[in-house]
Symmetry: C2
Subunit: 311 residues, 2 copies
């Protein structure tokens, strides 16, 4: 038996797990990130979490082949350095070397969206498919591309940035500095923004008397709110077009959609699939399945474990 440690570093929590060769989690745990304490303290937390997980799992340390860690920002995996991690205030922090020295095992680093994609591809909705495009609908739209079991990294670790396809150059401003990126429409943020725009235009909606989230918009749509239904249709159709573009380039076997919005089910997936078909080449469309993610918040640690097990 071989296992690996999977770590998913987030702005709020550090998640960790012991992952086996089938992608199952033997144990998992999480601790608060407390980013204000700085990078050295956080690395110590990761080291302690790792040791605790190994002990809890009951697995002999000699079976632990390594540690994989997902970083929520820009990384240089050759140097083992986190270049810029805005959420936790990191800038040029060496990650791989201090963890390897303290833990005496090989350490592999990747960005968190790519590891979530790798996790879903390895042991989730993408299992058994040769190539997968995995996207996460959250505050933004993240993405990762997995081909033959490996993450496509690209020249500067930026591959998979489907959220920044400029679908409408006259569209809303995006955090990246451009306009009309996919994630300005088809993210949780985008859905909330579009409802606010509808309200400003004078459209009637049950949502106008409350603070609301994307989940509230989906709930309202399920209760027949027309503006909410319109907005979800726009978000879904836009997503379908973006996915069709990505699929015409990548011709993936499966597209896995995760994140909070993906839990909405067919109210989202049905129009996404319809829009996808009307923009993708027929041979591309026929070859692909569009499915919801299966691993939820565990995707990152599963992918981190997979990275360490099979690198």
């Amino acid at each position: 038996m071989r296992v690996a440690v999977g770590i998913d570093l987030g702005g709020t929590f550090i998640k960790g797990a012991i992952v086996d060769e089938q992608g199952h989690l033997l144990v998992k745990d999480e601790v608060a990130t407390q980013s204000v304490r700085g990078s050295e303290w956080i690395l110590q937390r990761i080291i302690q979490l790792t040791k605790d997980l190994i002990v809890k799992s009951g697995v002999d340390a000699s079976f632990v082949t390594g540690l994989g860690i997902g970083i929520p920002g820009f990384i240089d995996s050759d140097l083992g350095v986190a270049i810029e991690v805005i959420n936790i205030g990191w800038h040029d922090v060496a990650v791989v070397e201090p963890l390897q020295t303290a833990l005496h095992m090989p350490v592999y680093m990747e960005n968190d969206a790519n590891l979530a994609a790798l996790g879903e591809s390895f042991a989730g909705a993408g299992r058994g498919f040769r190539s997968a495009l995995c996207i996460t609908l959250g505050t933004g739209v993240g993405g990762g591309i997995v081909i033959d079991g490996h993450v496509l990294q690209g020249a500067s670790h930026m591959a998979g940035e489907i959220g920044h396809l400029v679908l409408d150059p006259q569209g809303a401003p995006c955090n990246c500095g451009h306009y009309g990126c996919l994630e300005t429409v088809s993210s949780a943020t985008g859905v909330v923004r579009l409802v606010h725009e509808g309200i400003a235009r004078g459209e009637v909606t049950a949502l106008e008397y409350q603070q609301f989230t994307a989940a509230d918009v989906f709930a309202a749509a399920n209760h027949g709110d027309e503006l909410a239904q319109q907005v979800i249709l726009v978000a879904a159709e836009t997503l379908g077009r973006g996915l069709a573009m990505a699929a015409n380039l990548l011709n993936p076997d499966v597209i896995v959609i995760g994140g909070g919005m993906a839990r909405a089910g067919e109210i989202l997936f049905a129009p996404v699939r319809k829009s996808f078909q009307s923009y993708a080449l027929q041979r591309v469309s026929q070859a692909v399945r569009i499915v919801p993610a299966l691993l939820g918040n565990d995707a990152g640690v599963v992918g981190a474990g997979k990275l360490a097990l099979y690198s």
Copy 2:
């Protein structure tokens, strides 16, 4: 020394060459395809061309490791079958088995756009880069993606179809059945169409009194024709946006632009690069070079040879 036979099957000519391990051509030749004579006759032509090339090259047959062949249509490389090749009227033609039987060497098949990309990546403008997106501007816009020396095939051999990114859903109809694909604007066909549209709107151009090609449009633009200049700017800006989308997904080290239009030089490349930068993520843009192809019409046979040498 190892060499391979590279064959590029086209609608008009069958090109062939003996390719060495550096991607140099020892000899090359071409014969008319004469597609009306049917697939058996054409396969015999390829067999004879191969035998002649080996003799002409003076290389001992024992050094010939195999044959690669590019097919201008849809293929199934696992089965070794050309599924549909509209240009030469093929439908479900077995290619690999009859060639292997007649020539007693391994035969590898790929579509022609992918082999042109592989050729440029191996021994042309993409040489030395880990990942390349190679596009060809011709009647349409073809593309191929090469990562670590291998063509990205995709689930149904359709990867790299950048010409069918739907950039403007309200745009002109495309041969693929959709509207506003990149190739409706940024191909030779697209450039000619846009000039005709300008003429129909009553714009003045030196081109309106003649039959003209995309090459004529570039020549007119170089002589100060305003409509021709406008059209090339639109084609270049649209191409830049499509390439930026592809680059945000793939994060390639190099983008190689080939085909007749690419010979126009900076009148095309300068606005393509500018548009690319305004739509690509900064870290993607900083990591990539956009360069003209180097191998011209030889890219296909070089790629075919590379496929046979290193599969």
